[in-house]
Amino acid sequence: MYSNRILERFASPKFAGALRGCNGSGKAEDEKGGDVIKLYMLIDDNSIISNCKFKAFGGVSTIVACDIACQMLIGKTLEEGLSISNLDILEEMGEIPQDREYVALLVEEAIKNAIEDYYKRKEREAKKAIN
């Protein structure tokens, strides 16, 4: 059902867990599949994603998709991050069962939500500074 490559990544995800001091976080969930994922980003002053981690309630493909997305995101600008699509994630993952491909869409949604959250935080901070 899953390739050894996917299972190895699932057994030792590199980016699982909380990210202290993150300044952008995004959530996405799929009611049918039951998955809930949260992406945490640390974005530096040059709008570069310097670190990224995830937490997930989901199956093997969900965890691997999150882990791969984190790896893809680190070092990217926010714009580059926003341009990552579910197809890019699927391509990085390699072969997964077709009925699990929806997880890449979820991850894409979480990335967008995390970056949007970062912008909102920035906006709030700016408003605070003005006041």
Partner: protein, 390 residues
Amino acid sequence: MKKVYLDSAATTFVSSEVLAEMLPCFNTIYGNSNSIHSFGREADAIVDRARDRIANAINASKSNEIYFTSGGTEADNWAIKGIAHAYSNKGKHIITSAIEHHAVLDSCKQLEQEGFEVTYLPVDRHGLINIVELLHSIRKDTTLISIIAVNNEVGTIQNIKAIAKIAHDYGVIFHTDAVSAIGSVKLDVQDMEIDALTISGHKLYGPKGIGCLYLKNGIRIEPLIVGGSQEREKRGGTVNVPAVAGLGKAVEIAVRDLYINQQKLKSIRDYFIRSISEKIEFVQVNGHPQQKVNSIVNMSFEMVDNESLLMLLDMEGVAVSIASACTSGSNEQSHVLKAMGLENNAIHSSIRFSFGKNISKADIDYAVEAIAKSVERLRSISALTKAGRR
């Protein structure tokens, strides 16, 4: 790495007694049981013996009430469609439950496409159908009621005798899928007034690809498989003599050893649940608290996805399952737990553990350690917080 198999409800190993019964049928007694020469008659004697053993084990009044099939799925398909079609001039309404095996549910769905009407009885939180609701569902045109004796995902035992009695009070034929029941609970088709009953070989230390349908004499059925005069012209196809021999022996042993096996499995099951509750927090046991078989435990581990837990346990050498093996290749979650009204998160966190007769306390200790470790690991990265809050 140690390996522990906690998936006996998916399939079991073939016991040595069963294997010994089967082996001569591959290369010594290899005749076609339908041939009239001595080779055939010898094979036919093996088939008759298996039929007798099964009839005795379930207290059928005649051995010719046992029909061999390719497994439980075929027997379920045949019972539902064959009986429904045979009695379609009387009526086209069938009653079943929402927690049947897919072999029954999908057969009913097919009949619906043909114009039959099907009532899917709901179940309570413990997986029991409501007898009053059953009574209210019976109509003048109801011809068949099919209720699973023991649910294969949660182990809940239905009140089969009472259900069959009601069916007969209204002149309705009663079938039960007893695949998970045989060897776990005592089955007496005469005392329990069962008209048709499905048995499978590979859940009771017999071979895969063999099963049978008990069909009370006098009940009409249309064939599902045609193309030969085998099984008294009701089921075409050369009889799989080695598998039939194995099934006969497996059913005989399952009933012979029922008491001793159940005593052992009860101790194992209780020890497993106790050990899990001592080591892991936020766990719920799904199914009926008392009216359940000893070999199946269904549990939900809050905040933990069941597929991830299954795969981590597999990496530790512990085999378990999500829902039933028949659906676990797909992304579909348990229709049984859904019908029992479990929360979505609890369904996605549910694992079925099922114990075989060879399991030891040391196996349980090893498995529980692996479960505790894996649950802790997945909870540490779970996007859910305690009590399923998102």
